[in-house]
């Protein structure tokens, strides 16, 4: 079984972004970029399944600018076998990403597609579900445990009230949550080896996908900040303040 893992290049999670004062977007010049943290987890999960003999090949795919090759090389250095870069400088919405991924999946025929639960830039939390809908296959979102049987996968999901366990027929799309695993670091020799692993270049047009956005971004701003309040010296003073504010 082949596993397909989409990985997105995003602003590193440690960076505190700034909105441009003219409302035109978020300042991305000279900002550190990394693999979306959820995608590191899905790459790790794919590798563990391969190491456990449940998968034969791990293919990673990214839709983004030429520099997304770095993100793919990181995944290859972690241990993925090969990569597909669907190159575009446009910003591509989840719906179009899902359509391109459908094209990749139709060509690759993976038994399992492991997608991040959410990209930490757009915070959309929808690409995996969209892909499953487009492919007409089962989905299991927010996975904190993944077990592969023959033709099925047993997935424990993080839901609002706790945990839910379901079984899905393969092929399926699984979106991964943060507690699924701890992703490995790529070792220096593996980083060197990753440079030689195969990376195929495509464009959205190769999959016949129109990436024109459906949502027009009219304005981007920073939220109204909240000023720091007062420091209190004791628990008694704290309670007095809270009583004054009418919240206790």
């Amino acid at each position: 079984m082949k596993i397909l893992v989409p990985v997105k290049r995003v602003v590193d999670h440690n960076v505190k972004i700034r909105a441009r004062p003219d409302g035109s977007g978020v300042e991305l010049a000279n900002v550190k970029m990394s693999m979306n943290p959820f995608d590191e987890i899905s790459v790790e999960q794919a590798l563990r399944l391969k190491e456990a003999g449940k998968a034969s090949e791990v293919v990673v795919v990214s839709i983004g600018p030429a520099k997304a090759e770095e993100t793919l090389r990181t995944a290859l250095a972690m241990g993925a076998d090969r990569a597909v870069l669907v190159e575009t400088d446009a910003s591509v919405e989840p719906l179009a990403v899902a359509k391109i991924l459908r094209g990749v999946a139709e060509a690759e025929r993976p038994g399992l597609i492991l997608v991040g639960k959410q990209a930490i830039d757009d915070d959309c939390n929808q690409t995996g579900q969209m892909l499953a809908g487009l492919l007409g296959v089962a989905q299991a979102t927010f996975a904190s445990r993944v077990e592969i049987e023959d033709q099925t996968a047993r997935i424990t999901r993080e839901v609002d009230g706790g945990l839910q366990t379901i079984e899905v027929t393969l092929p399926a799309v699984v979106t991964v949550d943060l507690r699924l695993n701890e992703p490995r670091y790529a070792s220096l020799p593996n980083i060197m080896k990753a440079k030689k692993k195969p990376l195929e270049r495509k464009t959205p047009a190769d999959f016949g996908v129109d990436i024109a956005p459906r949502l027009r971004v009219l304005w981007t701003e920073e939220p109204a900040g909240r000023g720091a309040g007062v420091k209190v010296a004791s628990a008694r003073e704290l309670v007095a303040g809270l009583r004054n504010a009418g919240v206790v």
Binding site: I120, D123, G133, A140, S144, Q164, I166, R216, V239, A245
Partner: protein, 315 residues
Amino acid sequence: MPILLLAEHAGRSLSDQTAKALTAALKIAGFSGAEIHVLVAGADARPAAEAAARLAGVTKVLLAQDAALAHQLAEPLADLLVALAPAYDVILASATASARNVLPRVAARLDVMQVSDIVEVVSADTFKRPIYAGNAIQTVQSSDATLVITVRAASFAAAAEGGTVPIEAIAGGTSTGLSRFLSDALAVSERPELASARRIVSGGRALGSVETFRDVILPLADTLDAAVGASRAAVDAGYAPNDWQVGQTGKVVAPELYIAVGISGAIQHLAGMKDSKVIVAINKDPEAPIFQVADYGLVGDLFEVLPEFDRALRS
């Protein structure tokens, strides 16, 4: 055409997330003049439908009951919504785990881009939504024929109850055979629900163990009749269950009072609580970023401060 609001419910009881999403639906209706229908989909959900029928502003409740809908599995629920979609301009729901699971699947099948997690309705097709863990707010205008929207419930007050409207039974889904429910491990608690609580006490990594979390945080929560939250670090370490996590990737809350105990205030945590009305931070590090958003900051060792705090509250 009307707006379809997908209800959040636990079988027999309606979640107040529905009334909050209804407020967003009413704002859209204020621009478009549309009627609002609520869909209650489940196996044994008539009481939830009856509660939905009492919400002010709803014109009709659709009740779809089928064993296939018992656990809100994405595939049969999406089939049902896609079948209903041609009669609606807008399909929306509170951004619960269940809605975030199913609505993007519906959106893709309708060939529309979902507008996730809206915090404000600007006009019938224009919304504000947070990006980058809430560090920026985008105003987006949709050009799609059907709008599929999830609503950040913490940003909207619950709609009131009104009269009662008719409940129409409709055909439920059928099982797709793609997925099967196996089991639930859901917490049962007497405490207020995190998503709707008026007060929340949250613990972080500083609590150190599941026992101390229980012995230190829970009594304070009891005194305040508060829900309990946690940072990701506390959940990852096993001090608190996953459904208590507050933040960018956990629950987003906006209670009247949020007390962060031994939580540093990483942007991903702030993303989930910085719209609370009053924030209290208790942390031994005076430089902890949580103090930058706290209305009341108390620098000190939580193990000394919390018992005193509890005593002072009771006196």
